[in-house]
């Protein structure tokens, strides 16, 4: 275990790349600790839908209600959806249907980790029917793993809720932090184990070989 004397002597020296790299490794790891735990544990839940815990996360409570509304105002569907949400007191990420709206109807859904609402507006009768789903605690926990408001295979989907953007920024920051931690660890290993690199090279090569094996055999 390193002594405090050594550490304080080290601290008095002018910090160099090695010192900064080590500090960044610690500090980023500690800053992102809770994020790492959340994405790790939810990753397990997502990969093991047969687990009792994961199955419990699928349970949700459904309620329905209808309410009269003013005709939705706005220049585009997003603005109109926001107007309907304001009238119904809903908040969250809006998801508009990929297909064009049917004549006389205006449908969309609103999603948050804790709940989701499917809104169907009959423009002729000025009534909105809402199907509301309240997610269980485990579902909320799990949804944070995928809550980005955008799907790469749905070009029409865009983030439109500021909190989704904030959470996505956190995901991006974690990913960037993870890449920095990994690359910094390579440098640290190389500096600390310069005289005995063989084992590290073997282990690192085994990791890359496993990854390459999957890509090699899975790639067409």
């Amino acid at each position: 275990m390193p002594s405090s004397a050594n550490a304080s002597t080290g601290a008095k020296r002018r910090p160099n790349l090695e010192t900064w790299n080590r500090k960044i490794h610690y500090y980023l790891g500690l800053f992102f600790l809770f994020f790492l735990w959340l994405f790790s544990l939810t990753g397990l839940l997502l990969n093991h839908g047969q687990w009792r815990l994961a199955a419990a996360a699928n349970a949700r409570t459904e309620t329905r209600f209808e309410r009269g509304i003013e005709p939705p105002a706005g220049e585009d569907d997003l603005a109109r959806a926001r107007d309907v949400m304001r009238q119904l007191g809903l908040t969250g990420e809006i998801e508009l249907p990929a297909a064009a709206q049917a004549q006389g109807r205006f449908d969309f859904s609103v999603n948050r980790p804790k709940d989701a609402s499917q809104v169907k507006v009959d423009l002729s009768t000025k009534r909105a029917s809402v199907q509301h789903f309240q997610n269980s605690g485990w579902a909320v926990f799990r949804i944070f793993h995928t809550f980005s408001g955008s799907r790469f295979n749905a070009p029409g989907s865009h983030r439109d809720w500021i909190l989704t953007s904030a959470w996505t920024l956190a995901m991006d920051a974690l990913s960037a932090g993870l890449v920095v931690i990994v690359l910094g660890s390579y440098y640290m290993w190389f500096r600390f184990k310069r005289k005995n690199l063989a084992l590290g090279i073997a282990v690192l090569a085994a990791g890359y070989a496993c990854c390459a094996l999957f890509l090699q055999f899975m790639w067409p």
């Binding site: 550490a7 992102f32 974690l174």
Partner: protein, 204 residues
């Protein structure tokens, strides 16, 4: 002794899992920001005289996937079958087949015994994103119908367990350095405030 062993294990487990962490980390940017037109096929081929398993249209779930798998060599397609769908009106049997680097949809005409195979080659980043999402939460009973998906599940799980070990051993290694405790605690506290603050804002 404990410190030394923890440091060695932290280092070597970290080196082993690092390519997987890079793969999961880099693919997040694709998953969060990329847009792909999934209906732009690279090739569309018709395969005739397909040997269709008897009663295919009556099967559901894993059984339907297993029978669909038997046809894949005839269609020169390999990968994980996402789901199967029977279009009763036209007597077509449709199923997507995915693998890193290629998305395929098979549209089989049960009466004509011909299949339209539409392929879309994907980028390396989309392939990483595919691995990031596999096996995933959907169609649990069907997932893992390709041997490589089953294998990948093991490695995805191992990445999680090793990451948990790396974080816990990392805390121990950091805490052992007294000079780093104060700033480290401040960073952990800042991270906790950011994390729980965001969670609270999104939930409430």
């Amino acid at each position: 002794m404990l410190y030394r062993w923890t440091r060695e294990l932290h280092l070597y487990f970290g080196l082993f899992v690092s390519p997987f962490l890079l793969l999961f980390g880099v693919s997040v940017f694709f998953l969060n920001h990329a847009k792909v037109a999934v209906d732009r096929w690279t090739s569309v081929d018709t395969v005739r005289d397909v040997r269709v398993p008897a009663g295919l249209e009556l099967l559901r779930g894993r059984e339907a996937v297993d029978r669909a798998k038997e046809m894949l060599p005839q269609l020169d397609v390999t990968g994980e079958i996402g789901f199967t769908r029977v279009v009763t009106a036209t007597r077509h049997f449709v199923f997507p087949v995915s693998r890193p680097g290629m998305e395929t949809t098979v549209d089989l005409d049960l009466d004509a015994r011909s299949a339209v195979v539409s392929r879309r080659a994907t980028s390396v980043l989309e392939a990483f994103a595919y691995l990031h999402k596999m096996p995933g939460p959907h169609n649990v009973a069907l997932r893992g119908n390709w041997v490589w998906t089953q294998g990948w599940r093991w490695f995805a799980d191992a990445t999680v367990y090793l990451t948990m070990f790396l974080t816990l051993s990392g805390i121990y290694l950091w805490y052992a350095i007294k000079a780093e405790r104060r700033i480290g605690l401040a960073m952990a506290a800042a991270g906790a405030v950011t994390f729980f603050g965001l969670i609270y804002a999104v939930i409430s």
